[in-house]
Each structure stands twice: as C-alpha cells, then as structure tokens.
C-alpha cells in the first residue's frame, strides 16, 4: 500500500489531505493512510498502533461526553471497555471547542485550537478521536499531523476524516466493540500481557462539590448553561 497520509511532522504549512487527493471512504469502507480499505484492515492497523506506540490516548468529544441522543450511552460504555483493553491507555476529553485562556491544562483536556500542545506535552504517539464534530476533528487532526509524530485514529459517526492515519465511518457502539475485539486479538498476537483495567482518573481534575452550585457562579458564562427545570435564578452580578 502506498501511504498518502502518514504520521507527521508534516511541516510548517501542511498540505491538506483532500488537496492531496484523499477522498472520504464510501459506506462500508474505511480510510487507512489515505487509502480506501476494508474496515477491518484499518481497525487492525489502528489496534497495533494503540498497542505498540507510547502513551496511547482516547480523546472523547462532546458527542460522546453528553448523553444527548440515542446510542450515545452505549457508545460511551463501549469506549470505556475499549480503553480498558489497551495497555496504559488514558482518556483526555475535548469537552468543548474554546481555546483555553491563559493556558490549557494539557493533562486534563485537549481542544481543537492547539491540540498539538496536549499531544506534545503528554508525549502521545497514538490516539483516537471520537465524538468530535467533524469540522473540529479535521482541524485537530491536521494540526497534529503538522507538528507531531502521533498516529491518529478517527472514529466518526458520519463520513470519516481524511487527515487521520485510520478513519472509521458510520460509527455505532457495535463498531467500537468490534474494534475492542480486534485490539484483544492483536494484543494476543503480539504477546502482550494485560488484564482488563479502566484507564486512570484524570490527574488534574479535583473532586467537585456541585451541591451548592448555581448558574450565578458561572459569571459571564451563565448564559451558556441551562437552568434546571423549575429553577428561578435570582442572583445577579
């Protein structure tokens, strides 16, 4: 297979994958290094990357972090199972798409405006993007390819992502489960010993006490949250 898209760094101003002739895979297929392949082939290559490269990480985005429609809870559960089967896998969320000021906490999160900071600081060599809206996934994947040597995998509910080394489209919970099974198979082939273990808690996050929280506590962001049903906010700045 001739690889069109490979791990970076691609350089200062990377050429976009679509401009290099990479097209999204049709239904039932996947992308691997910019080529249209069978889904299983892409999953196997991705599995080997997650098993053999340093600091494998899953980056869940808003579409799997929030239980906002059917199948999301099942996907999230399947992702936890997947992470549990990848040795030393971490989960770092992309909770929204804002840049983080004054400085991102790269141990706690990633965002599409400077995803390379999280990748580089954590020395991540293989990662999975899942549940990230396509526009932001494309931005992130290209920036990662521009400035890092990370092998990227995109698990997409829609049409996939040309920039990733491996891209699976039309993602459902059962696809994630199938990917987990492939991870286990490849792990056994490689002779890696691992007991099913949940990924570690995010080290930067403190336990929160939300019992006294109210929208007024969010200051300038109060308009961005929904009040609870029946709640009447009386506090003002």
């Amino acid at each position: 297979m001739s690889k069109i898209i490979t791990e970076g760094p691609a350089g200062y101003m990377p050429q976009s994958a679509p401009s290099m002739g990479v097209e999204l895979a049709p239904t039932g297929k996947a992308l691997l290094y910019g080529n249209i392949v069978e889904e299983e082939e892409a999953m196997r290559d991705a599995a080997r990357a997650m098993l053999t490269k340093e600091n494998p990480t899953i980056f869940p985005g808003p579409q799997v972090l929030w239980d906002w429609k059917e199948d999301v809870a099942a996907k999230a559960a399947a992702l936890l199972e997947l992470a549990s089967e990848i040795p030393n896998c971490k989960i770092i969320p992309m909770p929204d798409y804002r840049p983080k000021y004054p400085k991102i906490d790269v141990k706690a999160e990633i965002n599409p405006n400077h995803p390379n900071l999280t990748i580089l600081d954590n020395k991540i060599k293989a990662c999975i993007f899942v549940g990230v809206h396509c526009h932001y996934a494309n931005l992130s994947l290209r920036m990662i390819r521009a400035g890092t040597d990370c092998y990227t995998i995109a698990l997409c509910a829609y049409m996939g992502h040309e920039e990733a080394m491996a891209s699976i489209r039309d993602l459902h919970a059962e696809n994630i489960t199938r990917f987990k099974e492939i991870v286990i198979e490849e792990r056994n082939k490689l002779g890696i010993e691992w007991e099913t273990t949940l990924p570690p808690e995010n080290p930067s996050l403190q336990k929160e006490d939300n019992s006294s929280l109210s929208p007024a506590d969010y200051g300038e962001y109060r308009s961005l949250i929904m009040t609870k049903k029946g709640e009447h906010v009386t506090d003002v700045e």
Binding site: M13, P14, S16, A17, P18, S19, E23, L24, P62, L65, W66, D67, W68, K69, P95, D96, Y97, R98, P99, K100, Y101, P102, K103, P112, N113, H114, N116, H133, C134, H135, Y136, N138, L139, R142, M143, A146, G147, Y158, M159, E162, S223, L224, I225, M226
Partner: protein, 396 residues
C-alpha cells in the same frame, strides 16, 4: 402581535430524499420564468426560513417566495434592513439549525459580501440565489454577471444555471449539497437577471405535493446552537485569535478545511446534477466553453456550426466552485482552440479555464458583452470561423 392565519400545505406533503425528488419523481412540463422556477424549487425544498432585501432583478424571485410563504410553504419569511443585515441574519438563523434561502443581485451581493465571506468559515449551510446584474456605476439594473467574480473567492460552492430548467434543478440540488456533513458551506445558484429570471422557458417539475425531507440540524460538522441539544449553547467559534494563547496554524487549517469542503461538494454535483460540465461533440478541435446564459448562446453557435458542417463542440460549465479542472482537462486534451464567451468585462471564466489547462494559449478570451447587452450568436460564430481559418461575414 397578531398571528396571520395561513394555509398549512406542508401537513399534506410527502417528504422524500433529494435523489428521488430530482431523479425519480414524475414531472410535468410548465412554461414559466426563471424567477418562478427558483421559487418553485424553494416551494419543494421544505425551507424553514427565507430572508432578503429587495433589489432588481432579484426582487421578482423574493416576491414570489413571499407568495409561497403566504401559501404556507415556508415557516418564516421577512425583509431585512439591507443586504448586510440580511446575510448576517442568515448566519444567525443557521446556527439555530434551520434550512435557509436568500437571494440578491449585483451591488446587493457586494453589500452583503462581508457576511457572505464569513459564511463558509462559520459553516453556514444556506442557499443563496444570485440573479446577476451590473454593479454600479453607472447605475443600471441590466444583466451582467460580474458580481460572480467576487463570490468566487469567498469559499462558497457556486453553480451557474443556463436556463429556467437549470435554475429549478440547481436550486433544489443546492439544498441537499449544502447540508452534507462533509460540505456544510453555502451553495449559491446564479443565473442571469432578465435573460432568465424574467423570460419564460419550459421547465419540467415534479408535483408540489412532494417536498425535500426535513433538515437534520444535528447531522452537522459543527454543533447547533440551541437550548434543546446538550451541551446547551456549546461555543463553536473561536473568539478573536491572538498570539498570546492561540496558534496561528489554527486559522490556516480552518481556511484549508473550508476549501476542502468546497472540493468535497464535487461528488454531490455528480450525484444530483450529472456532473460539473456537459460536453457536446467531444471529438471536436474547436470548443465553445461557457456557463450560464452564455452557454445557451454557445449551444446555438454549436448548432449553427453543425448545420454548416463545421466540427465544433460545446462545454457547458455548471459548477464554478469547485471548478472542474480535471473534467475540463479531459474534455479539451486534443482541442486546438477554446472560445469563452462571457457576460462580463473581466472574463472570469476565461481566466479560470486558462489557469485550469496546461496550454492556456489556446483560449480565446471572448466574445464578451456587458452592461446588459445581449450576446449575439454571430459574435461566437465569428470566433469559430477565425479559429478554423475561415472568413466570416459578420452582420449585426
């Protein structure tokens, strides 16, 4: 504010996908203007909202859209303050996840261009009709298509309709293309004011009891900003990008993503419209390449030439963005001369064609008319004769 009672025809419509609507639904022939054709497409597109500010010749279209709003085919319609207000309102409405239509002409496009240019970057899935005309000064309302040159650099998908039938089909297709997850940028449908909008032609249309299926606002590359879809009001546009905490690269790759989305639209132009170009007599040495109204005149010239036993082909260009570089190269690989008639002074199509092919010297830039003049077929015939080394007695 009192509610105005309106009919509710959408309640009795059958909602179908665009493939069925364009390719399979039975059609009947009608004899209607281009403005009517565009409005009839909007009627069948299950549009949620239309917003516009009037300008000739676009006003004919939006007047008719107002009529179909009164008939209950649109959920909402209003006249905005001016074009910048219109196009800004379109951007705002898109964030709420509704299907949108607007239209403008000439200086109206330029006035709205600040907002229109930001639409792709904000991932606004709107359909924009451009009923082309001159740009002032001197003041005129007559057909030209110079304003399309400005739109060509904004990132939107651009389709150019030859006639009333094209206007109908392209407008319908535009709603489907703009909403694809891997496109999700505005799609414009341009056609010449008056020559098409105010003239009648035959249009095969499906029943108005059929309509495009509902817009799925969450099947999108960016989150809808409403209060129902959690996380509520998730921010989707980066604030002002400053070097103290942003990578400059984010803006670069964001721009790339917009133009990649434009590129991805090509497969849907094939799916819904049969491809970005149409080729007549593909083995010819001399081709007329044209879009919009000029394609209709080019078609006549090709027919005249055929009657005179001259071997001439036609390449009609449907898609201006993405520009069909590969398709044009394939079509003209053996050609000796390409004649590009246009309705504007700058010749934006001939410039695109020259840039697209390796041997741009074979392009004849013209004939061109502008300022509202018609494009006589005889002007094209003269260029054909010249290309073939023949004398032509031009009489106008």
């Amino acid at each position: 504010m009192s509610a105005i009672e309106r009919p509710q025809p959408n309640k009795t419509k059958t909602f179908v996908d665009m493939d069925y609507l364009l390719h399979e639904a039975p059609r009947e022939q009608h004899f209607i203007t281009g403005a009517q054709a565009m409005a009839e497409a909007v009627k069948r597109a299950n549009v949620d909202m239309a917003i516009a500010y009037p300008i000739t010749p676009q006003s004919e279209v939006m007047h008719l859209v107002g009529d179909i709003y009164a008939q209950g085919h649109l959920k909402e319609y209003y006249r905005a303050e001016e074009e910048l207000g219109t196009m800004s309102a379109i951007a705002g409405a898109a964030r709420a996840g509704v299907r949108l239509f607007t239209a403008t002409s000439g200086p109206g496009l330029l006035r709205g261009l600040e907002a229109i240019a930001s639409w792709p970057g904000h991932r606004v899935p709107a359909v924009l009709g451009v009923l082309t005309r001159v740009v002032n000064a001197p003041l005129s309302i007559q057909p030209d298509n110079i304003e399309m040159a400005y739109l060509m650099h904004c990132g939107a998908v651009m389709l150019h309709a030859e006639n009333q039938q094209d206007t109908f089909d392209m407008t319908l297709a535009a709603f489907a293309i703009t909403e694809k997850v891997d496109v999700y940028i505005p799609v414009s449908v341009s056609t010449e004011g008056f020559f098409v909008t105010h003239a009648k032609g035959y249009v095969d249309m499906m029943s108005e009891d059929l309509a495009y299926k509902d817009f799925d606002s969450v099947a999108a590359p960016v989150p809808a900003m409403d209060n129902e879809t959690p996380p509520a009001r998730i921010q989707r546009d980066a604030p002002v990008q400053k070097s103290n905490f942003m990578s400059y690269l984010i803006h670069s790759v964001w721009q790339q993503e917009i133009w990649d989305s434009n590129r991805r639209a090509m497969k849907y132009i094939y799916q819904y419209l049969g491809g970005p170009i149409e080729v007549v007599n593909p083995d010819a040495d001399v081709f007329v390449i044209a879009s919009g109204c000029a394609a209709a005149q080019g078609r006549e010239a090709q027919r005249y030439a055929e009657e005179e036993n001259l071997n001439v082909g036609l390449i009609k260009v449907r898609a201006i963005r993405p520009f069909p570089i590969d398709e044009i190269n394939a079509a003209v690989k053996n050609a000796k001369t390409l004649i590009v008639p246009e309705h504007n002074i700058i010749g934006w199509l001939s410039k695109e064609v020259k840039a697209a092919i390796p041997n741009g010297g074979i392009v004849v830039e013209g004939p061109r008319v502008y300022g509202g003049m018609t494009l006589p077929v005889e002007l094209i015939m003269k260029e054909i004769y010249t290309a073939l080394g023949l004398e032509y007695d031009l009489k106008l």
